[in-house]
């Protein structure tokens, strides 16, 4: 089965057992929301770092699909196809 990779920033990798990316099996397309559910299923602390308890993406967490930030697409409903790469990057924030 084809896979989709989600690349983690280094600061979050300890919450995924030290892995730099996580993969989910996917035939055809899936949504970014589904993908996050899938790859964080075994890593609940990582899941909370990315989204709050309502399921909303945290304000300074950016997710890129093929170089586009998902808020400029369809947010967590943005579709991703097998073979595409998804990047999680923290935005520039804080003082």
């Amino acid at each position: 089965m084809a896979e989709i990779s989600v690349v983690l920033p280094s600061v979050l990798q300890p919450l995924a057992g030290g892995q730099s990316y996580l993969t989910a099996p996917a035939d055809g397309t899936v949504t970014v929301g589904w993908l996050l559910d899938s790859v964080t299923e075994d890593y609940p602390v990582l899941a909370r770092r990315l989204r709050d308890e309502t399921g909303a993406l945290r304000r300074y967490v950016n997710i890129y699909v093929n170089g586009d930030e998902v808020r400029r697409l369809q947010g967590l409903d943005t579709e991703v196809a097998a073979g595409q790469e998804v990047l999680i990057i923290q935005s520039v924030a804080g003082g």
Partner: protein
């Protein structure tokens, strides 16, 4: 690097805008520091729980990027535990998310394991397992006033929780909203702000809506409470049914801190700031003020404090320990932390040049061990 153990020690925890520092001392004069823990996360709340024969430090942690959480350590910060499913989160159906944990309040000695939390958005929480899992207080969350509560400058939060010895009476203060009281252990709540000014509202004496900055209970007189308001310092002798001003004798009635003695009736401390529009120590001269007669008179305490200090002290950036005589501790937004081992008669700067201090807590513990690796 050293590791010490003595039968009587003190723990000081300093939460800042960019991490947590911990210190231990045998004499409350020389302190050994570790930190920063949680570098780049703010620590707006700390609870030191010395019940159950252990010293558990609980911290509210908030990353600008990764959100809020509660972690705890049973080994003075050598290791930290964050419950996998999260210690504190709004249940399904509330459509709300925790923004910041403002208060972690271990309950009485007679109720081991019970820990209260106050959070933003305005909410109160209760844990019965030592702070590993908190349940939302539905009585306050579902209160019909909630939609009318507002946000102070720092956010809309329940920041003060006071529980009486029997556990029936719970007082909460929120900014803005004021004081709410429960007589049934937290099931139902009513506003109790009679006498507290809300000068910034069209009706300056509303039933609720006040910006009460901090409340604390008298150690020995049941039903007596003290409040530092957004302008105004008050005492209640009737379980918050009514409040009267005790600001006379203070250089200013603005400020954020309200501390009470761990055992002695009538003793409380405030740290005045000049005014809402001038949030600095009056004339740039930082001082703690203590009353020993429940607000009848105040004594200025500034021995050991700097001649000039323009930084404010935030509502939870001050604490007392339970020792005899009581220790008094506070930190400034300029990153200085001052400690007194004699109830405020004299202070010494124990840390300086830290990030903005958001929260300070201290405790006397039976057996403190700390690996001193970093000096603040």
């Amino acid at each position: 690097m050293g590791c010490m153990a003595t039968p009587e020690s003190y723990v000081l925890a300093i939460g800042t805008k960019k991490g947590l520092w911990l210190a231990t001392s045998q004499d409350r004069k020389q302190w050994s520091f570790t930190g920063p823990h949680f570098l780049m996360s703010e620590i707006p709340s700390i609870g030191i729980d010395t019940r159950d024969g252990r010293t558990r430090i609980m911290v509210g942690v908030r990353s600008e990027h990764w959100g809020p959480t509660v972690a705890h350590s049973d080994d003075l910060g050598a290791t930290w535990t964050e419950p996998e499913q999260g210690a504190i989160k709004f249940p399904d159906g509330t459509d709300a998310a925790v923004e910041r944990i403002w208060q972690i309040y271990p309950d009485a000695e007679s109720r081991p394991g019970v820990v209260w939390a106050g959070a933003e958005p305005i909410s109160v929480w209760k844990s019965t397992d030592g702070g590993e899992h908190f349940e939302l207080n539905r009585g306050l969350w579902d209160h019909p006033h909630r939609s009318e509560w507002g946000a102070g400058y720092g956010g809309a939060a329940a920041h003060s929780i006071v529980v009486n010895p029997s556990g029936d009476n719970v007082h909460v203060a929120m900014s803005t909203g004021g004081v709410y009281r429960s007589l049934d252990g937290g099931s139902s709540w009513e506003p109790r702000n009679k006498g507290i000014s809300a000068y910034f509202m069209p009706d300056p004496n509303p039933e609720f809506g006040q910006c009460v900055h901090k409340i604390a209970a008298d150690a020995a007189v049941e039903g007596r409470l003290y409040a530092q308001n957004h302008h105004g310092v008050y005492r209640s002798d009737d379980n918050a049914e009514s409040w009267e001003s005790i600001a006379e004798g203070l250089p200013a009635d603005f400020g954020f801190v309200m501390l009470t003695h761990p055992r002695r009736a009538g003793t409380a401390w405030v740290i005045p700031l000049k005014a809402d529009g001038e949030r600095i120590p009056p004339e740039g001269r930082l001082a703690v003020h203590r009353t020993d007669d429940a607000g009848g008179t105040w004594k200025r305490l500034d021995a050991g404090l700097p001649q000039v200090e323009y930084n404010a002290v935030l509502r939870d950036a001050a604490a007392v320990d339970s020792a005899e005589p009581a220790g008094v501790y506070f930190g400034t937004r300029g990153g200085s932390v001052y400690a007194s081992a004699d109830e405020g008669e004299s202070f010494a700067e124990v840390a300086s040049h830290l990030p903005d201090v958001l929260c300070v807590r201290a405790a006397a513990v039976a057996d403190a061990k700390v690996a001193a690796t970093v000096s603040a």
